[in-house]
Amino acid sequence: MPRLDRPILVLAILAALALLSIAAFMTLGVRGNWPFVLEYRGRKVLGLMLVAWCVGVSTVLFQTVTGNRILTPSIMGFDALFVLIRTAVVFFFGFGVLATLPDQAQFGAEVLAMTGFAVLLFQWLFLRGQRSLHLMVLVGIVFGVLFRNLSAFMQRMLDPVEFQSLQDSFFASFGRIDPTLLGVSLLLVAGASLAAWRISHAFDVLILGREQAISLGVPYRRMVAAILCIIAVLVAVATALVGPVTFFGLLVVSLAHVLCGTGRHRYILPASVLLGIICLVGGQTLLERVFAFDTALSIIIEFLGGLIFIILLIRGAAR
């Protein structure tokens, strides 16, 4: 019994902290017009929570289907793919297009491209026979290098203004989530999450591995393929909304495992999402109040995420 109590307690504390972060974000340092500020910040919080949800859920599910706690979608080269897609748009059409194209169209194209790639890569890596973890990580990293270099190749030819603007758009900008994208994103994420919910009974079985899962009567291939599509949509939405944040998923899910002390999805999933909210909303509060908009949150997350992960490794606790 006490083993069950701990995750629940942790979830309760995390929920309280998340609420506290949200409250601080909504109310600290308001100047003037309250209704405007509440509406403006409300949208931002909604966007941040959406991103936390996408990153948390997709990373947990990804680790479930790949059967390890180190691989994450962004380590597999997704952020680099996002940079590549966006660079390609600027490269072939100029930055003006990026700025004038209807946001939804650009967003839809990015989501589509990322989903297509994700499903292809996953199919190829995870569904065509057994491959070692080493191989998958290496292939992921190498893909990342390939994408980054293709982007660099194109960026090399950009005008400095365009380069600068492009560079700016790569700092995950939580302050600039476009409100018109929120609706589309919410719909996509809700759909993906609903699909995940319907097969959620299988998650704890899948983590036991392919043979176990099959012997327990789970249609393994079909299940994995479905989860991969869900992950792709979630990752695409998160990355397209705020740009690449490499270590964020790893950070929150690792922390969730350490805090919960169990691998069961009913605890890990909400804990990861709550931790994500605390990091993003709390982080954004810090960014706006302490750094006064001068630094992008993603730099801080990369810094802290890497640092905390190393500390976790040192403690031998990350596994």
Binding site: N149, F303, L313
Partner: protein, 324 residues
């Protein structure tokens, strides 16, 4: 599997590539004119001031970077590392940024030394962290290195963003030989010398790669061998970074390819790694100079695209073999 004549053949091929590199560029220089002494003064000057230095720089940087990757893999005892997956390159970059902000007028030698110190500190930190991590999985090593590189890179980005130096940092992180001229690459001889030093120390490094206990049993000073390896790697990384910028991927892929070909005895692999590193860099730079002439595509980009594609091919071709 290697024929005794294989290495001489490879060296010959690289010499031919180097010769080709001498005659690729914006200025028209015909090899026969030079040999017959018919080249005009300007062509000779371009040859001596630009082509020869550039080719030498390519040879030195290519060989040294590939060997540094091999040394790194030896001292960390892991196939998946190279200076850019151990925080070394990122640390050197941070050092260079610090110099640029605090003492922009410092001569290049000073910049290189400070970048080396940062690289050494960063690599030492990496090694220290490795000793603290419970290493049950070979993959944790590059992961820790990538994390550390990410952390250091975030610090660099933070300050670069603050001082509006992102473009400069971007320029360093892009290896590019277009700026090489007589008088502007000579630092790379140091990197070449370090590659030779690695060869001289190859036996010790090979033994050190077998682990601390084994080495100590043989009466070798494990610690000093490791420090030697670290200094080689840090100095090579910083030197190459300061003179031409980061040459990514080379240190990872070349030693792996060589290892597939002839195994892991370092005394035998160092010459191969140096030769193949050189050849690879030469090919990429020659392509980079020709594809969009008269403009250039930086070698970092060429190498990143070609190198990663080649590596993917290698990985997947060998998918039935157990990864080392």
């Amino acid at each position: 599997m290697t024929h005794p004549a294989a290495l001489p053949c490879a060296i010959l091929a690289v010499v031919l590539l180097a010769a080709l590199s001498l005659f690729v560029g914006v200025t028209d220089i015909a090899p026969m004119d030079v040999l017959r002494g018919q080249a005009d003064a300007r062509q000779m000057q371009v040859l001596l001031a630009s082509r020869v230095p550039r080719t030498l720089a390519l040879v030195l940087a290519g060989a040294a970077t590939a060997v540094a990757g091999l040394v790194m893999q030896m001292i960390v005892r892991n196939r998946f590392v190279e200076p850019s997956t151990t925080g070394t390159v990122e640390s050197a970059g941070l050092g260079l940024l610090v110099v640029t902000v605090l003492a922009p007028g410092m001569p290049v030698m000073g910049k290189m030394l400070i970048a080396s110190l940062f690289a050494l500190a960063g690599t030492a930190l990496f090694m220290r962290i490795l000793r603290m991590v419970p290493l049950r999985d070979v993959l944790l090593v590059p992961l820790v290195g990538i994390m550390l590189g990410g952390v250091i890179g975030a610090v660099t980005t933070f300050f670069a963003y603050r001082f509006d130096l992102l473009a400069s940092v971007g320029a360093w992180s892009m290896g590019d030989f277009s700026g090489v001229l007589r008088g502007r690459y000579e630092l790379l001889w140091l990197a070449g010398a370090l590659a030779v030093a690695a060869y001289a120390a190859a036996d010790r490094l090979t033994l050190a790669a077998m682990g601390r206990d084994f080495t100590t049993n043989l009466g070798l000073n494990y610690r000093s061998t490791m420090v030697l390896g670290l200094i080689i790697v840090s100095l090579v990384s910083a030197t190459v970074l300061v003179t031409v910028g980061v040459i990514p991927f080379l240190g990872l892929i070349v030693p792996n390819v060589v290892s597939l070909m002839i195994g892991d005895n370092m005394r035998r692999t160092v010459p191969w790694v140096a030769v193949m590193g050189t050849g690879f860099v030469l090919i990429c730079d020659i392509l980079g100079r020709t594809i969009r002439a008269p403009y250039e595509i930086p070698i970092a980009t060429m190498l990143g695209v070609i190198g990663s594609a080649a590596f993917l091919f290698l990985l997947l071709r060998r998918r039935h073999h157990a990864a080392p």
